[in-house]
């Protein structure tokens, strides 16, 4: 099975879906001739023409709003937000419109749109090219939210999102683009939305998270296994909305010690909901208080290297939090 980069998995998912279905198209700033500022849509305009890899004016609410209109008309648009930091002008279109179109029309209309947006820092992007805005949209009924950590899941989840009859926010991690590569089958497959995945089996502690920080968790888990004999069970949520309750509870029950990790800041983050689910159902099965290791509650990360490093999670931070929990 070929090993491909995370960014290539995303590009291939779009290319294959555009080949499969003439109603699938991608639109956004720089997605056409340039092929995206990260190269995510490279080659699509050459293969599918200007209309289906559509360079739009620099106006995010229109990118989302026009895509929503086209989706209601029966197309399958993929709207790209160049950085998730810039999707806030489109928030009204996403939350007031896309999320509510099926519900407010009593199922008469639907909005099968995918909005792709790169999240995360570590690229010296400063405050406005580094954010994780998941919590802004999380908890909005009517939206589905996915955030893959591997190339395999990125491709399978993006295909599932494109084929989904409802609006899906696809948060791809820009640090993962070229840092993460794994085995991706050549044949067509999808990864179901709403299902978590066990990345590593273990009996001592459970780490639950999504996106980039899980790679630090996996590295830390290997070292802890070797050095301390601590075996971590690692669960990738993959889908943030709807959360896989059964998967979360099963993973938490396995060890009774839970650490939740994400790069989005701690207060009001997805981890708070994961912790609440565990507390509601499994409180008396826990052997330690639920821990969270997240981005700090500051507006966003600074661009200066020590500041950025201090803000971000890394293997060492994960390792120390995991060991502390194991020893509790």
């Amino acid at each position: 099975m070929p090993v491909i980069e995370y960014i290539e998995a995303i590009r291939l998912a779009m290319k294959e879906e555009m080949e499969r279905d003439p109603e699938v198209f991608v639109m956004g700033e720089d997605v056409g001739l340039k092929g995206g500022v990260f190269g995510t849509t490279k080659g699509l305009q050459q293969q599918f023409g200007e209309d289906r890899a559509l360079d739009t004016p620099l106006a995010e609410s229109a990118i989302a709003g026009v895509a929503i209109g086209a989706a209601m008309a029966g197309m399958k648009p993929i709207a790209e937000m160049q950085y998730s930091d810039f999707m806030f002008p489109a928030t009204n279109q996403i939350i007031s419109e896309a999320a509510k179109i099926r519900y407010r029309s009593n199922n008469d209309w639907s909005c099968p749109i995918v909005i792709r947006a790169p999240i995360g820092g570590g690229v010296f992007g400063g405050l406005y090219h580094s954010q994780c805005p998941e919590s802004v949209f999380f908890g909005t009924p009517g939206l589905k939210i996915v955030a893959p950590s591997t190339a395999y899941d990125a491709k399978g989840l993006l295909k599932a999102a494109i084929r989904d009859p409802d609006p899906v926010l696809f948060f791809e991690n820009k640090k993962c683009y070229r840092l993460v590569a794994d085995e991706v089958p050549e044949e067509d497959y999808t990864v179901p939305i709403g299902k978590s995945k066990v990345m590593r089996e273990g009996g001592d502690i459970t780490v639950i998270g999504y996106s980039m920080p899980l790679h630090f968790a996996m590295q830390a888990a290997e070292e802890l296994s070797r050095e301390e004999g601590v075996e971590a069970h690692v669960l990738d949520l993959r889908t943030l909305q709807p959360l896989d309750r059964a998967g979360i509870l099963e993973a938490a029950a396995k060890t009774g010690k839970v650490l939740i990790v994400h790069e989005d800041n701690k207060t009001g983050g997805v981890g708070a909901e994961v912790a609440a689910i565990i507390a509601e159902e499994l409180l008396y099965d826990l052997d330690a208080p639920i821990r969270r290791l997240c981005g700090p509650d500051v507006p966003a990360m600074p661009i200066n290297p020590p500041g950025e490093k201090h803000f971000l999670l890394n293997k060492e931070k994960l390792k120390s939090a995991m060991l502390e929990l194991a020893r509790f």
């Binding site: 004016p57 209109g69 008309a73 209309w109």
Partner: protein, 341 residues
């Protein structure tokens, strides 16, 4: 008789390609919308319904807008005062009544949304919301889809002059201009955004903004439905010919309060309102039809009786109709199992 026939052939509506039957049908819709609207206000005052928002005085232009479009092919994105527009496109008074009573059978939302939040896939009326102007980029999206599929469909979208200050107005028009999309933008300038007069909303003409987006903009008198028809028809033809969008600013005046929750005399005078009531386009259009021999007092009486009976029946039906069961209000957050769309 011969003389009347000659007059009709040279009439304004005939010159626009509107048949006598269509000219009369337009009048009947204006009247229906007016009488429905008045009933809505009464029902709210009587405590039978919670809320009504009026389109009174805007009916002639709304009717003309719809009649100038292709009602089999085009997409309609109305705003909350567009009763005459949705009635022209095929929504029935019974359906509007079901909406105002928020009943399950309401095709717009099954009684989930406030009245005036139209939507009906069968009639190509696109579902709308309360945050204003979000429908403008949607109309552009429908036009983009039509262009990509090579379909001969044009989308038409309404909004108020207050709304035209929202970013979605500018972003939507700019996008449509760049892509030369088949869309007609209609600003119904009724001079008030709740209490804020037009002079405090804009220092220029809304129609002039089109220049900045690279397509034509026109201002037209909303009390003259035939002029509105002409301008919208031309805009539709330009759109269908691949020549791109048009912005139309319809000059009208909101004679009612913003909604049944508003007291308009707190910010304007009765005299000002009366001046505009006197310019009402419906009696003017009636006189026009009468002078051509297409209308008469007898026909007016018959129509009024017929519409009143229709509205009475619709009111009674909607009042008695069941609400959506509360447990069903959990449905359709997402597609249900096995649904492809």
């Amino acid at each position: 008789m011969t003389q009347t026939g000659t007059v009709r052939q040279n009439s304004r509506h005939a010159a626009l390609g509107i048949s006598d039957e269509k000219a009369v049908a337009m009048y009947e819709i204006m009247k229906l919308a007016r009488m429905y609207d008045e009933r809505g206000q009464l029902l709210q005052r009587a405590g039978k319904i919670n809320f009504h928002i009026s389109g009174i005085t805007q009916e002639p232009s709304q009717t003309a807008m719809a009649f100038a479009m292709d009602r089999e092919r085009d997409w309609f994105l109305p705003y909350y005062r567009d009763y005459a527009l949705v009635l022209s496109v095929g929504m029935t008074v019974k359906e509007l009544m079901l909406s105002i009573f928020a009943k399950a059978e309401d095709p717009n939302s099954a009684g989930r949304q406030m009245p005036g939040h139209f939507g009906c896939r069968r009639l190509r009326i696109v579902t709308g919301s309360s945050p204003v102007t979000t429908q403008v980029p949607h109309a552009v999206g429908f036009a983009l889809a039509a262009k990509m599929r090579g379909e001969d469909a044009v989308s038409i979208v309404s909004f108020g002059e207050g709304s035209s200050n929202q970013g979605d107005f500018h972003e939507g028009l700019n996008f449509a201009g760049v892509q030369k999309l088949p869309v007609v933008f209609v600003c119904q300038n009724n001079q008030y955004a709740i209490s804020v007069p037009f002079s405090k909303q804009s220092a220029g003409k809304i129609a002039d903004r089109a220049i900045g987006y690279g397509f034509p903009g026109y201002r037209v008198d909303g009390n003259d439905p035939l002029e509105v028809y002409r301008v919208v028809k031309e805009a539709r033809e330009r759109a269908a010919a691949g020549e791109g969008p048009t912005l139309i600013e319809i000059m009208t005046y909101r004679v009612t309060a913003h909604s049944t929750s508003d007291n308009d005399l707190a910010y304007r005078t009765k005299e000002e309102v009366e001046i505009h009531k006197a310019k009402d386009g419906i009696p003017v259009y009636r006189r026009y039809l009468t002078e051509l021999g297409l209308w008469s007092d007898e026909k007016e009486d018959e129509l009024t009786r017929r519409l009143r009976a229709m509205i009475d029946e619709a009111t009674e039906y909607a009042e008695k109709a069941p609400f959506q069961p509360p447990e069903d209000s959990f449905r359709y957050v997402y597609a249900e199992e096995g649904e492809a769309r």
